[in-house]
Assembly symmetry: C2
Homo-oligomer: 431 residues x 2
Amino acid sequence: VEDGDAERARDLVSPLHPADIADLLELSPADRRGAVAAALGDLVGAEVLSELNDYVRDDLIGDLAPEQVAGFAAELDTDDAVAMIEDMDDADQQAVLDALDPEDRAAIESALSYPEESAGRLMQRDLVAVPEHMTVGQVIDYLRDHGDLTADFWEIYVVDAMHRPVGYCQLSWILTCPRSVAMADLMKREQTLIPVDMDQEEVALRFQKYALISAAVVDASGRLVGMVTVDDVVHIIAEEAGEDILRLSGAGEGDINEPILMTVRARLIWLVVNLGTAMLAASVVGLFEGTIERFAMLAALMGIVSGMGGNAGTQTLAVVVRALATNQLTSSNTVRMIGREFRIAATNGATLGTLTAVGSYMLYGRLDLSLVFGAALLINNMVAGLAGVLVPITLERNNIDPAVSSSVFVTTMTDTMGFFAFLGLATLFLR
Amino acid sequence: VEDGDAERARDLVSPLHPADIADLLELSPADRRGAVAAALGDLVGAEVLSELNDYVRDDLIGDLAPEQVAGFAAELDTDDAVAMIEDMDDADQQAVLDALDPEDRAAIESALSYPEESAGRLMQRDLVAVPEHMTVGQVIDYLRDHGDLTADFWEIYVVDAMHRPVGYCQLSWILTCPRSVAMADLMKREQTLIPVDMDQEEVALRFQKYALISAAVVDASGRLVGMVTVDDVVHIIAEEAGEDILRLSGAGEGDINEPILMTVRARLIWLVVNLGTAMLAASVVGLFEGTIERFAMLAALMGIVSGMGGNAGTQTLAVVVRALATNQLTSSNTVRMIGREFRIAATNGATLGTLTAVGSYMLYGRLDLSLVFGAALLINNMVAGLAGVLVPITLERNNIDPAVSSSVFVTTMTDTMGFFAFLGLATLFLR
């Protein structure tokens, strides 16, 4: 599309939603993205930039003057503006901030003062807060007089004299009520308040659990400082839920727009750690070299024992990591969960053990080998089930992300135990 | 808490949000859940039931009379009522439907007529639609007169004479405008319409991409038949993103409230499939029994080659499966993605190959063995990288869920190729 005819490209793209234009830019090859963006001109506005993948955006705005970036930032909600400039290096960021007008600068600087991935970064400052004594009619008149208050809001917060939220009111309640009703009578007092330093993952879980559309953010003294809206949380919910699969498999961030060297590095670290644990497991095999020299078929079968343990461990791990991430697994049902996984491991281990024992008997016709094989599979399946549930729970209790580190421990155990159980039993019982 | 003193339990629980009461029930042991629910009495209302995990809810309402279930269903939005009764067997479902009043029954029956996991099941029928010629003032008066229209709504749809949506209007726009403005001038004409038979995963992606709060659902003739709101979609976004990790590791649904036998069955099927492919890979080892008898240390090292390939393959797989699920990987960037993964695999393979060659030389002091070991690792890493990206893409193109079946294919390839490359090279070059 982009072969010189910039005019035609603009005509084609102009009816698209900013999110679609962002997609289009992401799908363009990295080395032609700048040219595509230039051809599209002012169709690539602040909204498109805020929809872009972080790496792609940083790439595109890297060439812009601070004044241009500031121009985009001024058009956006505080949270989107912060997301746009938070990854810049300090000097560039300062240059952009200097180019902003004082009000926008103050808002963004204050957001940047909160930790990354906290509610303070996520929230927007523009919101509607009214005192309790107002009536519906007064609120509507106030909104009509201040029509430029903020872009999108779905709920109004009711605050006391200290600007502390005492309740909230959905816009639909206001619209379906006579003008004379007092806000104090219309509002709901039970509300989910978000502390400004709460981690965004926890914010996302609250939104999910209580089906929130927006929520008031309060500072340490309980004063209303901003609001988080569901459209900003939806991205986090999807990311956090999708992250576990990437972490569990050691794929780092897994962002396909990440510079390739960062990806290589993230994955390599994981692979080297796994290489170390694989060496450890292999050293167990070394203990039984004599047995393997006598029965070479053991070499073929031992990989099945350790591999099946790894598969069963990964199943349990995936379930437990998800249950921990979604707060479904808490201290009150930990014991039940362990019991459940133990029973599943025993059942599956017994079934697989029987299957492999019968299968290998038919294949090799050796009863002793078949029994050793089946028993080793049963043992390793139980080890896998227990490790799969105990390792992530232990890590979580010690505040280590179970998704990142569990699988190294679990596969080390299933590898080592698989080799040890199978070759050990073979050394004892095979003649 | 639940030792006879039901009165006190009710006092403790009554200030809680329905979602918290639902959590409490889920965390209770399965065999005491009925007693807990009975003790809480009418605190366990329709809202609590709709927040419950499917299995836990089915368990609790299994004992109720159809009239009681119908009573709960009548209190809920159509989508929540449908979720409550869609898993019942036909006779029970019919009994509940018969106990409903005709209007609710018609709404639920019509929802049930759409396929499971489609927009038709997800949507609610209660919504506000107004004709284009109305003014803001008329809309407000209409809403005040029909205050009981629906529980929660965030946007109003503007329809033509055929009841086809022509635009939408956020409530905040209505509240910040003078009464005299015409809806036709206030509404936005660009809107995301959801076909009634669209899969819920696709609906969730639309909500995410366009940051929607609610969206109009239309039938085949383009008429407005319902609306989907973001609070119903948030659950789906989280589930769909979290599902991939469970599917990729063969853990089935991974629901910790699922009856244990269903879990055993789902995981066992996966393990048996993997047992089959592990046998296949092991049969490759059988081809080289002679070589292993001569060099027993090969048995220890071959597992490292195949295992490291498996790890690298899983990394690539996780990234590709996520990219496919989030529509980041499309036909336009497939070739680039393959190239990217190939370069990552080559870099990591070369690094790991060098590492292991040097390491094994220090350990065994045999140059030929070290070179064979390093070369096999490099080869298997490349196989893993290519399989990790080609398998899921191929499955997706053939409309097979790549998360479910990719890893079987990939690990079969890395296992087989790992054994074959390492033992084959050893047979050729080791003296």
